[in-house]
Amino acid sequence: MRLTSEEVDHIALLSRLDLSPAERERAATELSQILDHFEQLKQLDTADVPPTEHVLPVVNVLRADESRPGLPREGVLQNAPEHAGGMFQVPRVVEAE
């Protein structure tokens, strides 16, 4: 089944991808194809099958509550596209989510 353009727009927005109309068209085709491929999983009865959480039965891996100094600030900011006053700078965010 082909995804509608609204569905593709929604996926692109959630993914934060600014797709051109042509890219949207291509995405609709390719995503629809792969979703069709996923249909085969429906053949399997998994009603009583637990989902895999981890391949190994490891639990309770914890760290003692001890603090260490963090990175030097040069290391923190050296890759930043823009920074000011020791902080990362971005276009103004209107309100909190």
Partner: protein
């Protein structure tokens, strides 16, 4: 004979016995890189100066009587998905083209402790998504056996570097076959360890529950040597296994008498070419000749592994790759007047290649409200069925023998317009990641002068048996002694 013809094991011996200095080794390999790299294009970054400095330092330590480690003086290529402090780590993506990590990956630290010398950061499919290294944002890597063909992927740069003798060892990462499939295509030995055997700390994540770092080499012994160096517990990775390790080199006894080799017929379907099937069956016959017992096993759920993988891996990836938004590091595309959402969306559409975008969208959809149960949850349940198939098989045998890939290496561009054919390249390797098992690929023949890979799959944490089986077969054949001519 040039030092670059030697195995890692031999190089380490030469260095330890002072028959060669680290600097001579490094110079030799850097010379080789200079000679062939233009054709192979295995590296995103060659770290020649740094490698020479490190070689000199190791030589000084050696001169003062220090033990410089089991890999002392051995050059290594490191997949560009592994963070290296002070050295650009790009994941072959425009997004991270200029990213310089302020820290080393756990495995990189381990290599340093053991005296290995990184000669460069190896090319890959962008964010490890692909099976040909054509998805690198920078350039495709070529197969040293035939420069018109792909080396496989995603660890194509690492593997090509080893096959082209640009380094005797390489580190790759394997999420659905990204070590084993290129190893098969390039006639190398590549091992994906048990999930959790090697710490993922510092590996730029693709799909966290599947990713595993592993060794690539020209023979099984080198593979074991490198595995010994990188395996072991790391407190920084919660999924890292905390138990004592065997000595992998000790496992290479050459004796597989009584070893039970399972053959799952499902792995010989789904597009596996006759010549691959024949070569693998001959290898199984060889193992039988060496005293192994061959048993048929059935794994009916594995045919669903590909679809399962294409839900789980993109789902995790959609989340893992969400951090590339132009805020703290990496590319930022910000045009006048753009708000933050526009900045994110333009950055990500420019910074990620098509395949990465495609998988992010698949994963986003598979996790989204209303689809989660049908896709993600369903896939994790099918994953349980696949694991159960393996559990049942290992009741009957010690290792499984299958093809690594359905074909030999294909031509560059050949599968570009057939995404499904591309994905099929991983059909034999993906089920293994689903179950977190260790598996190795090693050469078992040629077709049209291109190497064919045999995949052996072991039980959880049983790398020793896997290496023993692979080594015994390897030593009884001469596939591994053949080299690409460049």
């Amino acid at each position: 004979m040039s030092l670059s013809q030697l195995s890692a094991y031999q190089i380490a011996q030469q260095v330890q016995s002072k028959k060669a200095s680290c600097r001579e080794v490094v110079d030799d390999f850097l010379g080789r890189i200079e000679a062939v790299e233009e054709r192979v294009k295995a590296f995103v970054t060659v770290t020649g100066d740094e490698a020479r400095r490190r070689a000199d330092m190791l030589d000084r330590r050696l001169a003062s009587g220090e033990d410089i480690g089991a890999l002392g003086g051995v050059p290594i290529a490191v997949k560009d998905a592994l963070c290296t402090r002070g050295v650009k780590t790009t994941c072959s993506s425009k997004m991270l083209e200029n990213f310089v990590p302020p820290y080393d990956a756990h495995v990189v630290e381990r290599l340093a402790v053991d005296g290995a010398i990184t000669v460069g950061k190896a090319n890959m499919d962008e964010f490890a998504m692909g099976s040909s290294t054509e998805n690198s944002a920078f350039f495709p890597t070529r197969n040293p056996w035939d420069l018109e063909r792909v080396p496989g992927g995603s660890s194509g740069g690492s593997t090509a570097a080893v096959a082209a003798l640009e380094a005797p060892l390489a580190l790759g990462s394997d999420t659905g076959g990204s070590i084993r499939q290129p190893a098969a295509y390039c006639g190398c030995v590549g091992l994906k360890p048990t999930y959790g055997l090697v710490s993922r700390y510092g590996l730029i994540a693709f799909a966290s529950s599947l990713d595993q770092i592993g060794p690539i080499a020209n023979d099984v012994r080198d593979c074991a040597l490198l595995l010994q160096s990188i395996a072991g517990h790391d407190r920084r990775d919660t999924t890292s296994i905390n138990r004592s390790l065997p000595k992998y080199l000790d496992a290479l006894t050459g004796n597989i008498r009584g070893l039970k080799v399972g053959v799952p017929q499902e792995f010989f379907a789904q597009g596996v070419q006759g010549y691959v099937s024949d070569a693998v069956h001959k290898a199984i016959d060889k193992m039988a000749e060496l005293g192994a017992e061959v048993v048929e096993v059935s794994m009916p759920s594995t045919e669903y592994a590909l679809a399962t993988y294409y839900i789980i891996a993109p789902s995790e990836a959609s989340s893992n790759l969400a951090r590339y938004d132009g805020v703290q590091y990496g590319l930022r595309v910000h045009e006048m007047g753009d708000d933050i959402v526009q900045m994110y969306s333009k950055t990500r559409v420019k910074g990620f290649g098509h395949e990465v975008q495609h998988r992010i969208m698949i994963g986003t959809h598979a996790l989204s409200s209303g689809f989660y149960d049908a896709y993600y949850l369903k896939a994790q349940k099918v994953r349980t069925l696949i694991r159960r198939d393996f559990e049942a098989a290992f009741q009957k045998c010690d290792v499984l023998a299958t093809p690594t890939a359905p074909t030999v290496a294909f031509k560059l561009g050949e599968n570009a317009n057939d995404p499904f054919a591309m994905k099929l390249a991983d059909v034999c390797t993906i089920p293994v990641n689903m179950a977190g098992l260790p598996a190795i690929s090693l050469p078992c023949g040629f077709h049209e002068k291109m190497p064919i890979g045999l995949q052996l799959i072991g039980n959880l944490l049983d790398e020793s048996t896997l290496l023993r089986a692979a080594h015994a077969y390897e030593q009884a054949t001469d596939w591994h002694t053949q080299r690409a001519v460049l």
